[in-house]
């Protein structure tokens, strides 16, 4: 069973521990550098990439601006296509619905397509409590599940593991392989082992649980984007399919999907197109699951929608480009964020979904950034993460001040501790100096409300001390 993030320490504490783990840092540096290069190459092929980003952002904004109408339409189309539509206010309601569907068929085992939302609601653990086993079928999810580990990346939850570690986990935990002694750390061999391990499960599974990358309101069509074919297996072979879909996944029309099918694969795996994309509309007679349930989930999304600055986070298509480009993420990894949504998007999405001033761990996340702006640059739907971070910092400060028990100083301490972790090496300090200039610019533009209420934000000098020292040879020139 996968562990959970409950009781995670605050970001600076977790980050410091992660920084001390050199294996983790080298795994991450290697993986994120690889994916950054791939992304840059395929994005450069598209002449009008910027136009595509603008269009993607505009379509999502339009969808959110009339979200109620689109949801009602989506529900009507799905129902007309033979699906059962359920609504869930929060994680518990969603998990209960999924468990009920399994129970009414006497099913005690489900196969799962990788989905962020089912991790968000802790579905596997909730099903386990009801005596229902959930089998993750995505390779990286499988690595996490078999290793009793936590996901650390949106796209590749086991990004913190290298091939040698994966081999070790498979040797220890993977059952039913015909010749386990032939396992090696060759990625092709490891992928082959996953195929063998899950084949029987796919062929006999009676129920699958998925999320959806997009939900087309106009047609009632759900879309899953994947690579391995485990998604297709889950969406096609079982009798019963339950899809948990965040209400922000809506796109208005079929034609709107075009833009996202161009933006997502290039931003996420750095491919022109991912190997498999499945779309389905309720029940297709004689093809695939004949019982289709769609759970429309809120779980804090309407809270985020009400946040004037933060609502743009609901445009997120979970590509993970912002994680791969983030200097903080690259150094501390995903676990330090204490959530299934790590990295820059996690630093804003968690407080937006859960609210600030409730949980110290969540409140520490908006400080997990140097505000360098790399995340905004790469985001396919142009989410201005630095601006949202600055606004959330102000909200955190406000919330703590309102509590009147010395909240403000404590949050400053949190921020400073985070800085300490980031600045530990000379290279990081060099980066941080560069970012500081960008950062105060952004903060000044957006206006860090509560913070600047009591003090002025110092302007970072145009040239850092170290740059000046280098240029002038220690002040002698």
């Amino acid at each position: 069973m996968t562990s959970t993030f409950v009781g995670m320490p605050k970001f600076p504490v977790a980050a410091r521990e992660a920084l001390a783990n050199t294996q983790l840092r080298s795994n991450l540096a290697h993986a994120t550098a690889t994916i950054r290069d791939k992304r840059a190459r395929v994005v450069a092929e598209v002449d009008n990439w910027e136009e595509l980003r603008l269009s993607g952002a505009a379509i999502k904004d339009a969808a959110l601006a009339s979200l109620d109408q689109h949801l009602v339409r989506l529900e009507a189309r799905l129902t007309a296509a033979g699906a059962e539509v359920r609504w869930a206010r929060d994680a518990d309601e969603a998990c209960t619905i999924v468990a009920e569907v399994a129970q009414r068929h006497g099913i005690d085992e489900v196969v799962k397509v990788k989905s962020m939302v089912t991790q968000e609601i802790g579905l596997n653990e909730a099903l386990q409590e009801q005596g229902i086993s959930a089998w993750e079928t995505d390779l990286a999810e499988l690595i996490v599940q078999l290793g009793d580990d936590l996901p650390s990346h949106i796209l590749v939850p086991a990004i913190h593991r290298n091939r040698a570690e994966i081999l070790e986990i498979f040797q220890r935990r993977m059952q039913g392989l015909a010749s386990p002694e032939e396992l090696t750390d060759d990625p092709a061999v490891l992928a082959g082992a996953a195929r063998e391990h899950l084949r029987q499960k796919f062929l006999t599974a009676r129920m699958a649980v998925s999320g959806a990358n997009f939900a087309v309101a106009e047609t009632g069509t759900l879309v899953v984007v994947e690579s391995e074919g485990n998604g297709r297996m889950c969406l096609t072979l079982p009798e019963v399919l339950v899809s948990v879909v965040g209400i922000e996944k809506v796109v208005p029309t079929w034609e709107d999907l075009d833009v996202f099918l161009r933006l997502l694969p290039r931003s996420s795996t750095g491919e022109r197109m991912n190997p498999y994309t499945s779309t389905w509309t309720g029940v297709t007679p004689g093809d695939g699951p004949q019982e289709v349930v769609v759970v429309l989930l809120d779980n804090g999304r309407t809270r985020a929608l009400a946040d004037q600055v933060g609502r743009q986070a609901l445009r997120c298509i979970r590509c993970s480009a912002c994680l791969n480009s983030c200097p903080v993420y690259e150094r501390v990894g995903g676990h330090a964020y204490g959530s299934v949504y790590p990295g820059p998007i996690g630093a804003i999405l968690n407080p937006l979904l859960k609210g600030v001033g409730v949980d110290e761990q969540v409140d520490s996340l908006p400080y997990a950034s140097s505000l360098c702006g790399a995340c905004f640059e790469v985001c396919p739907v142009r989410i201005d993460i630095p601006s949202v971070l600055v606004d959330l910092r102000a909200q955190v400060v406000d919330a703590h001040r309102a509590k009147r028990w010395g909240g403000v100083p404590s949050m400053q301490t949190v921020a400073m501790k985070g800085a300490a972790a980031t600045f530990r090496s000379g290279r990081r300090l060099r980066l941080a100096e560069r970012f500081a200039r960008l950062g105060t610019g952004i903060a000044a533009r957006v206006g860090a409300r509560a913070w600047t209420g009591s003090r002025d934000l110092p302007r970072a000098p145009r040239e850092s001390f170290r740059a000046w020292w280098r240029r002038t040879d220690g002040g002698t020139r």
Binding site: D61, L139, V156, S227, E228, T279, T281, D287, T302, R303
Partner: protein
């Protein structure tokens, strides 16, 4: 209050607090290569799929060469005849697993991304038959190939509006989950052969 009504109420309340600007947006054009069919062949091959280009009268020979030994499954109304093939008649997953290959037509080919789209109409069969067998041989006709994703959407819209599922295929099954390098061959067909006709 039902969860449905409460969520819709929350959405309306959240939107009420925000000025809803009416954003207008266009769909940016896709790429427009000189030779769409040649680009398609090149891009499909980029994914480690096998591409065989042949004139219509050589299709059957090309198909014979591509077929592996073993049981072959085909959907109803396939555009070519495959000797000794079994026509899918609600074969179970295990029966499909015992098939060496499947041969199908397709709905659309997309050059820019090297993608084949099945709309599971005649000649393409239900989704399971192109999923479980380890080899997928797909026949793509030159006039089915479009330049880029935006050109494919209107061609696929009628099938979607009829409620049919789609499967977009770009190369054989693959994963990037181990150190983010792409490895071909996981759960879907490990071999994809595209017979490009015309």
């Amino acid at each position: 209050m039902s969860a449905r009504d409460e969520i819709l109420d929350r959405v309306r309340a959240a939107l009420g607090a925000v000025s809803t600007s009416s954003t207008t947006f266009g769909h940016p054009a896709g790429s427009s290569p000189d030779d769409v069919v040649a680009l398609f062949a090149e891009r499909v091959a980029d994914y480690q799929a096998t591409v065989v280009r042949c004139p219509p009268d050589e299709l059957e020979a090309a198909l014979r060469d591509a077929l592996p030994a073993g049981r072959i499954v085909v959907p109803d109304a396939l555009s070519v005849s495959v000797p000794h093939a079994v026509t899918d008649d609600r074969l179970t997953p295990f029966e499909l697993d015992a098939c060496a290959a499947v041969v199908t037509d397709c709905a659309v080919g997309i050059a820019e991304t090297g993608t084949i789209v099945l709309d599971h109409g005649p000649g393409q069969g239900r989704r399971a038959i192109t999923l479980v067998p380890d080899v997928h041989i797909c026949i793509v006709r030159a006039d089915q190939v479009v330049a880029d994703v935006p050109d494919a959407m209107p061609r696929l819209a009628p099938a979607v509006r009829q409620g049919r599922p789609l499967t977009w295929i770009s190369g054989p099954s693959a994963t990037s989950d181990i150190e983010l390098s792409r490895v071909e061959g996981v759960h879907g067909p490990r071999t994809l052969v595209v017979l490009l006709v015309g």
